[in-house]
């Protein structure tokens, strides 16, 4: 909620401008440039490998946005967000594969887009179901109830029942051609990337708008002081459940997007570690929407760099690549420890400091 300092000599003359996202022409220019880079530059110039890294970043960011909404904005600590991503992914897959779509819908490539929306809503409602205990418990106890969401949803319902209807043992597989948006088949990395960046941008817009209106303020109010929030006319339970809904909704989008990338689906893609990982992402990223984005970039890129570094070393330690999953987890733990000790406010705070340094330059205040 902290505001960005305006560059020296800039003042607003009406309230509408002060409420805006991009408050000066310079910022507007920078943001448009950024959008151009991610929408046009990356798909044109990145090779397949780095595109897949970018896709991974986008997926992590979509998941982390939901976690940020719960933990960062409403103070509802969750360790079960992978469950809602899984619900989104499964709903979308089952809709695509099993729903008797009219010929018209399939030909026009509407099945997948519609399934994304339905998957998001189902995941949101599922999230509300497990958000119900938040009416009574908070803090540490809420963590346990959200972990219940993870184990009930993924380990029990999805593994034992839902994944059995997919055939092929445990996994669903989406044959080529089933994932189609309009006239385009989502079959190459570039197209998956574009789908990701569109969904991510939409979700960021949705969240940024929510957070500057009444609903967003109510969430932050509940986080900071629930008693005061209640005496000022906020129905706490309702707004907590709304928060769970929106977080689950974004998680569902993430899940429904992920099947376009993998073209296969099994409960192993949504382990409890993914929930933990997403919390780690926002711990490292820091506050705000940009925190979720920075955290995702950092985590994914650091892990990739580790892997690149590990390849030449595997000549000396042949087991290194086999055990890489463990090294990844160790690095994750180390990164979180290091951030909690040396920069508890995360990358977004560092970014904010750097930005303000230049905005206020040459003065330091």
């Amino acid at each position: 909620m902290t505001r960005v300092w305006m560059p020296c000599g800039h003042y607003h003359q009406d309230y509408a401008r002060d409420q805006g996202w991009w408050q000066t022409p310079v910022i507007k220019g920078k943001m448009i440039l950024l959008l151009l880079v991610v929408f046009v530059g990356f798909p044109l110039f990145l090779d397949e490998y780095w595109l897949s890294v970018a896709i991974m970043i986008g997926y992590t960011a979509l998941g982390a946005l939901g976690v940020q909404l719960l933990i960062g904005y409403a103070g509802l600590i969750t360790l079960g967000h992978a469950a809602f991503i899984a619900v989104g992914a499964y709903t979308s897959t089952i809709l695509i594969l099993r729903f008797p779509w009219p010929e018209f819908f399939v030909n026009w490539g509407l099945a997948y887009p519609i399934s994304i929306v339905i998957a998001a809503i189902v995941a949101g409602l599922w999230s509300v179901l497990f958000g119900l205990p938040s009416a009574r418990v908070k803090g540490f106890y809420l963590i346990l109830t959200t972990m219940a969401a993870q184990f009930i949803t993924v380990d029990f319902i999805l593994t034992q029942y839902v994944s059995q209807i997919g055939g092929r043992g445990q996994a669903f597989s989406l044959p080529p051609g089933t994932i189609k948006i309009g006239p385009w088949f989502i079959d190459s990395d570039v197209k998956v990337y574009l789908l990701m960046i569109i969904l991510l941008t939409l979700m960021i817009m949705l969240m940024a708008n929510l957070l500057r209106t009444r609903v967003g303020r109510a969430w932050v109010a509940i986080r900071d002081n629930d008693i005061a929030a209640e005496t000022l006319g906020i129905n706490i339970v309702w707004y907590k459940l709304l928060n769970f809904f929106v977080a689950g909704f974004i998680g569902g989008i993430a899940g429904a997007f992920w099947i376009a990338n993998l073209a296969a689906l099994s409960p192993e893609h949504f382990p409890w570690f993914l929930s933990l990982w997403l919390v780690g992402v926002i711990l490292i990223g820091g506050a705000g929407i940009d925190g979720a984005i920075f955290g995702s970039i950092f985590m994914v890129v650091v892990m990739e760099l580790l892997q690149i570094a590990a390849i030449p070393l595997s000549d000396y330690w042949p087991k290194l690549m086999i055990n890489f999953a463990f090294i990844k987890e160790m690095a994750f733990g180390l990164a979180i420890c290091a951030f909690l000790i040396y920069e508890p406010r995360g990358l977004s705070y560092r970014w904010w400091q750097a930005k303000n340094y230049f905005n206020l330059w040459p003065f330091s205040y």
Binding site: Y15, T213, R217, V220, T231, G233, I234
Partner: protein
Amino acid sequence: MNNAGEVNEGDVILKLENIQMAFGKVQALNGVDLEVRKGEIHSIIGPNGAGKTVMMNCINGLYHPQKGNIYYKGERINRLSPHKRAELGIGRTFQKLELYGGMTVLDNIRMGSHIHLKSGILSGSIYAGKTKKEEIEDREFIEEEIIDLLEIESIRDQVAHMLPYGLQKRVELGRALALRPEVILLDEPMAGLNLEEVEDMARFILDINEEKLWKVTCVLVEHDMGVVMDISHRVVVLDFGNMITDGLPEEVSKNPQVVKAYLGEEDLYITRR
């Protein structure tokens, strides 16, 4: 500000009837009656542990009394939850500061006008047309009526928990005002302030009580007898959950029971003059 159920100046707007509130064996309130008339500043005084804040919490809905009735504009509100009572027009500030620490001052106050805005998650996430208009209009009202009144223009972009205590108290008053209440419960608004800040705060309370735009009925809990006796229209005295007296400030300050229970034998209460 709210128009549901017209109450004219001088009519009873808030009525407590035989309120009994016990925590285990401790009888915090023992058959307290109170009538607050519209347009008044009605003070509640008493020694520590007399049940003043409990009474506030009962009016506000944070506590539900075991016995007795609370009427607001003639309507029994015993069973309503705090946020419903806020919607009826009962605002509140707290003794121990209960601001939203992570929000800016402006957002703290804007949050107070929650019940006057309408956007939901769908309209809010698009932020166009009506939503945008109501946000801007609300902000305009807050900037020009509340922030201007409380003289906190210079700190409105600062994060609330970083502010000095006196300013935080002011922000809290502003937040309660953004609710546009008809009755405001002020729980020790002067506690911990220096003389100058007390004078400012007293002026704000008189302003919101008298100005045409606000006309807020105030229920004030305060220990600063100088302020209480100067600005209140009526004073209630509580002692260990029992109501000793309810009357005009001059009567109350001369009441022998009150002097014994709270004020002390000498004129100790005029400390700050």
